[in-house]
Symmetry: C2
Subunit: 181 residues, 2 copies
Amino acid sequence: MMMTPKIESFVMHCGEMGSKWGFNRTVGQMYGLLIINEQALSAIEISETLNISRGNVSMGIKELQSWRLVQVQHKPKDRKEYYLPAGSIWEMAIRVFEERQKREVDPTLSLLRDNLLNEPANEQEQFAQGKMREIHDLLETITHWAGELQTMNPDKLNTLMKLGAGVSKIIDMKDRFLKSG
Amino acid sequence: MMMTPKIESFVMHCGEMGSKWGFNRTVGQMYGLLIINEQALSAIEISETLNISRGNVSMGIKELQSWRLVQVQHKPKDRKEYYLPAGSIWEMAIRVFEERQKREVDPTLSLLRDNLLNEPANEQEQFAQGKMREIHDLLETITHWAGELQTMNPDKLNTLMKLGAGVSKIIDMKDRFLKSG
DNA sequence: TTAAACTTTCAGAAATTACTGAAACTTCAG
DNA sequence: CTGAAGTTTCAGTAATTTCTGAAAGTTTAA
């Protein structure tokens, strides 16, 4: 599997971005390669194309599976496993979003909840708990909202996004409508 | 500046989470400490409370400033700088969101745009460009939407979030209203 | 000016994270 | 069974990131 320069630049960029998106460089590259490639690739092809060890590919695939971002394919008369990106670009975005939520927000929410169960012992803790409550409530609102958005189908979500700030006008309209009705 | 166990657990948690949120452990701890503390803190107080070197505090503050998350305060008759979190919890969330956008999404968008200007050289590149376009369009929609949401005031944003998937019903209502009108 | 009080910088050390490659494991056809 | 074709694991090493502390820089009061 030879990469053309353009494809290589995309794959390497996914590597750089990988760490910002929550995985490491080689996992990013692997995922970029799978997205950009029409055919499913075997572990050994990935390893050779990206010049990384076979063991690293195995760990990377595991990581991508934990994000539900790849799927395995088998070919008849062939014992190898072939890997493909799981789902559409939209689904990929939603999964990354969901997983990050799980890894970044949920643990904080649970720490805050625990902490808020205790009575503050002094003025300093009183202030601290006030802040923790603010953060807790904000995160909970966001989590709840994100959950709801994910129940919408991609089309509707797309409409909503394209609408942008316009949604604000629609909410106003609803208010007027309900008042006058 | 002594931390009570509850406050310490929060601050240490911010440290763990720091890396997931885009900075490193000590920067996370520093920010947690500033949020949870009613009074502004000097660099030396931060350094002593968290047991980290004075130089590290200086670098951490610089990092937090690059995220626009801290603000400096001066006290009369005192040459030290004192640090405070910049803005409300809402503003903090919006800033983290904006900065991550800048760091994680914008570079990818620009790479994709460049790549899409070239004609595909073969069938493999044709497929690749198709995928790149999909990703590009999706990221652009999200970026645009995020930008618009940020122009809304917190109250309205809150209303919208609390509405959750209900927003979908309102969009339907608008459609019906426009058709019948 | 000077010097005290503070901040920033940065080379090198420490800590963390990622990667390799060889060994162990699994699966399956014969 | 056996062994060939594959996958996974993991100890050790390499690469990267973070942190320290001392030196350089800055600011201000006298």
